[in-house]
Symmetry: C2
DNA sequence: AAAAAGTTTAACCAGTTGGTTAAACTAACC
DNA sequence: GGTTAGTTTAACCAACTGGTTAAACTTTTT
């Protein structure tokens, strides 16, 4: 495709670097990731990364920002504040499941960030988190007011939703190995969508519903 | 305390190394952890680690084994197969919450292992996992038979329980920072036990109850 | 008490890795 | 066409890090 847009070459190079970095950080974590490998994956000289973006930590934070602002945008754009709270919560969970399922890197990076306890948590990230928590708080409050949800702590419900999905998504290889050990083991495969996502959705709805 | 037991010095040294290693791996991850730091924390010469245990990966796998076999033992020992399924599930969740709350390193290490997708997952670990999944499967089946639980996929319920607790535990610093951003933000602090653990317990019970 | 077995230590090292640099190359501008 | 600004590259390097070694030290055994 002959440069579909008159976009600057700079942007294309940057995008290749970001893609490579996201995959590498997801697979190996910040400390395990090698700048040489990111460069190789991006088909770019290592010095080009330093020229365009900066050092390893800066590159990593850019990736984090891209990911979490993307999630927050998705969730907020797809929320319809006038529909019933149950529908809104289902949409919220379904969107999240879709994002995680379409991009396993998200799950890995979220887990690692959570494990690091948000040491050196950049301010911009906090704002995206706040947007997400704000939304689910609003949805749950809505449900409580209309009498269909019981009183819960929104953060916990949110952590339940995201924790369940991320763990389910990433545990796929472990579950495959386990299939040989537990007799009645129900292997649910790698996919989060469809039946599995639907079950998670139902479980969480069951948890908050009055 | 003047050597409370005639235990060999070896065991004491080993224990110091394991403690230091667990903390370091939890804080920094496998790649981020430095053997020199583990040695310093354990107040032992680095070579002593290699003499008693072996290389970094071996040390790490020992820690993993200690942690997960401990969890599996705790859960199985505290299960009372003749009590009602709801009680058994509550005990299961409460035990897990207690373990995670008493030792934050568990949560961090679990998250990182999950993020790595169980690459080079040692066989012994698989057996402990199998024991845990076997137990919760039995409990949930029990509840389905006695008509109090709906039909669910045990692995998913288990991942929901563990995911929720681990995420809640480790998100404490993020939540503190967030408290400044979201107006109606409900900061639940660092503790998992008491109210928060009780709420998680109720949420999960609500999710699986008919 | 001396020999043997077990444990600790300081010093060392080779391979790796994040980051730099100066020169070459390319696109834009006059 | 030539000059300038922007971009890419190969080669390089200093700091770090997992792991080793040989010698010293301690405990157990005979």
């Amino acid at each position: 495709m002959a440069s579909s847009l008159p976009k600057k070459k700079r942007d294309k190079t940057m995008q290749r670097i970001f893609n490579a970095a996201q995959k590498t950080f997801a697979d190996k974590g910040f400390d395990g990731a090698r700048m040489d490998e990111i460069a190789r994956l991006a088909k770019v000289n290592k010095a080009t990364i330093y020229y365009h973006i900066g050092d390893k930590r800066t590159l990593y934070e850019r990736i984090l920002n891209e990911i979490f602002s993307g999630i927050a945008d998705s969730l907020l754009q797809n929320d319809d504040p006038v529909s019933p709270a149950e529908e809104r919560l289902r949409t919220f969970i379904r969107m999240l499941a879709g994002l995680i399922d379409r991009n396993a890197d998200l799950a890995a990076i979220m887990l690692r960030e959570q494990a690091s306890g948000a040491k050196d948590f950049p301010e911009t990230l906090a704002q995206d988190f706040a947007r997400i928590i704000g939304l689910i708080t609003e949805i749950l409050d809505d449900g409580v007011k209309t009498g269909i949800f019981k009183q819960t702590t929104p953060v916990i419900v949110h952590l339940m939703a995201i924790g369940t999905m991320v763990f389910t998504k990433m545990s796929s290889p472990i579950r495959s190995k386990l299939a040989g050990h537990v007799a009645a083991f129900d292997n649910i495969g790698n996919r989060l969508e469809n039946e599995v996502a639907a079950e998670i959705e139902d479980l969480i709805l069951g948890a908050v519903r009055k």
